[in-house]
């Protein structure tokens, strides 16, 4: 899979970091960054939940 963050959409809710802390973190500016762009299960499943819950729909995941 390929995980990306749209920095213009991200509102710094930190949901992704809470849901999948091994995959996402927040930078100094409070905007999310991807730690593990090609996560595999079970991290991939958590990343998908973060994608669904992201309040600004800033996460996109391309399944390979």
């Amino acid at each position: 899979m390929k995980i990306t963050i749209d920095r213009d959409r991200c509102v710094g809710s930190a949901y992704c970091q809470r849901i999948a802390p091994a995959v996402f973190d927040l930078g100094d500016d409070g905007i999310a960054v991807v730690l593990d762009a090609d996560a595999t299960d079970p991290l991939a499943a958590a990343a998908r939940e973060a994608e669904a819950d992201c309040p600004s729909m800033a996460i996109s995941i391309e399944e390979s």
Binding site: G12, S13, Y15, E49, D53, S56, M57
Partner: protein, 408 residues
């Protein structure tokens, strides 16, 4: 014989918001998911998908022409000008703007509310929680709202703003004034909270001068050092946003007291959290989902659009009902039951979605976590010591009083 929806949907009446509201939402979601509420010419949205769609399409649904039902009621009464009088002439507010301007103002605010920035206040926050519980924890009944839930956000706001705790009683009256401004429906009722709001602005102007002379490690100083459009942020904008930060005191009070009420009703949760403090996060989210501190916000359609198959004309309003979206069975299984740690726990609407997502969400969660971590480390249970009273407010949701006792 079931009553027609028009007889049941009384969203401007505070008595509508008791436990019976949820049956009405269930009917609205299936019978009329974009329900036209004629008295204010506003469409009420009860499905999560519609709330998400509206929130994440600010180009189609604007924040600039009213956010609360009472503002629409005031506009109907021709009293909008009276309302406007209390706003600073150049005090653009992030929540009343649309992108791209909204993004610039949001960046000004959010830089001072990042999790990393807030972490610097964690020790102070933990200290406030200990102090407040020291004062109430002798086993005697007390009002959780007045003694704890209302106090903590004010102490936190004072620490963040770098103002003295001696100002807290006045800050309390200003938070109440800000809440009243989202409640009044006539120009006459606006006068008294409006005067208190003016008082708040005078106080903040003085603080701005103080911080300009002697900057500290606080949010007002950071705002003053921030730039907007390449120059220092204008005072009117800083002032408007610091006032917004203080209004967080109101919604966080509602969250904290709703949490206490929920834990009083679910004593098993106290034991579970004590055994695994990590569970507290899920309890906070579930409380936010079941009892959203803000019941909803208005948007204005910028062009003709269809919502749930219903045509909405440009200029017409929509109102997103968060308590309804949060119990949409299409999104949450057994939506009325309290199930901390459920799947998609963060999928609730209570902080909004998209570009206007609540700037204070991280702060509110941090306060809830700190307070209940400390409380649960000291006490086995919270018990009701009387009948709680609901806060009488159309837009805001929670307890006005919550008499409790704490037990070791």
């Amino acid at each position: 014989m079931t009553a027609p929806l028009a007889d049941l949907v009384r969203v401007e009446d505070t008595s509508f918001y008791d436990d019976r509201q949820f049956d009405v939402y269930n009917r609205m979601r299936t019978e009329a998911p974009a329900y036209h509420y004629e008295p204010l010419d506003v469409f009420l949205l009860t499905r999560m998908d519609d709330v998400r769609y509206i929130s994440t399409h600010p180009e189609r649904f604007s924040n600039a022409s009213g956010l609360t039902l009472n503002q629409l009621r005031m506009a109907n009464a021709g009293a909008s000008a009276a309302f406007e009088r209390f706003n600073e002439p150049d005090g653009e507010l992030v929540i009343t703007k649309d992108p791209p301007r909204q993004r610039a103002l949001r960046a000004l605010m959010s830089g001072n509310l990042t999790p990393r920035y807030l972490l610097g206040f964690q020790d102070a926050l933990d200290g406030f929680c200990r102090d407040l519980l020291d004062r109430t924890g002798d086993g005697a009944p007390f009002d959780f709202v007045d003694s704890i839930a209302a106090q903590l956000p004010l102490y936190v706001a004072a620490a963040l703003m770098g103002v003295f705790e001696v100002d807290i009683p006045r800050m309390k009256s200003w938070v109440a004034a800000l809440e009243d401004l989202t409640k009044v429906t006539s120009a006459a009722d606006l006068e008294e909270p409006g005067q208190r709001f003016d008082e708040l602005k005078r106080f903040l102007r003085d603080q701005l001068e103080l911080k300009r002379r002697t900057p500290g490690h606080d949010m007002i100083s950071s705002f003053l050092a921030s730039s907007l459009d390449g120059s220092p942020a204008p005072d009117a904008i800083v002032l408007a946003h610091v006032a917004t930060l203080m209004s967080n005191g109101g919604t966080t009070r509602l969250l904290l007291s709703s949490m206490a009420g929920l834990l009083a009703g679910h004593p098993d949760q106290m034991d579970l959290i004590r055994a695994d403090p990590g569970l507290l996060d899920g309890v906070i989210e579930e409380c936010l989902r079941l009892m959203p501190p803000a019941r909803g916000f208005v948007r204005t359609a910028t062009a003709d659009v269809k919502l749930a198959g219903v045509p909405v004309r440009a200029g017409q309003r929509v109102y997103m009902l968060y308590p309804a979206a949060n119990r949409d069975p299409g999104h949450f299984t057994s939506p009325d039951s309290f199930e901390p740690g459920r799947r998609q726990a963060y999928g609730h609407a209570s902080f909004g979605f998209g570009t206007h997502f609540c700037l204070g969400a991280g702060l509110a969660r941090m306060e809830a976590k700190a307070l209940f971590t400390e409380l649960i480390s000291r006490y086995r249970s919270i018990r009701l010591a009387g009948t709680p009273t609901r806060y009488e407010h159309v837009q805001l949701n929670g307890w006005a009083t919550l008499p409790v006792t704490l037990h070791r």
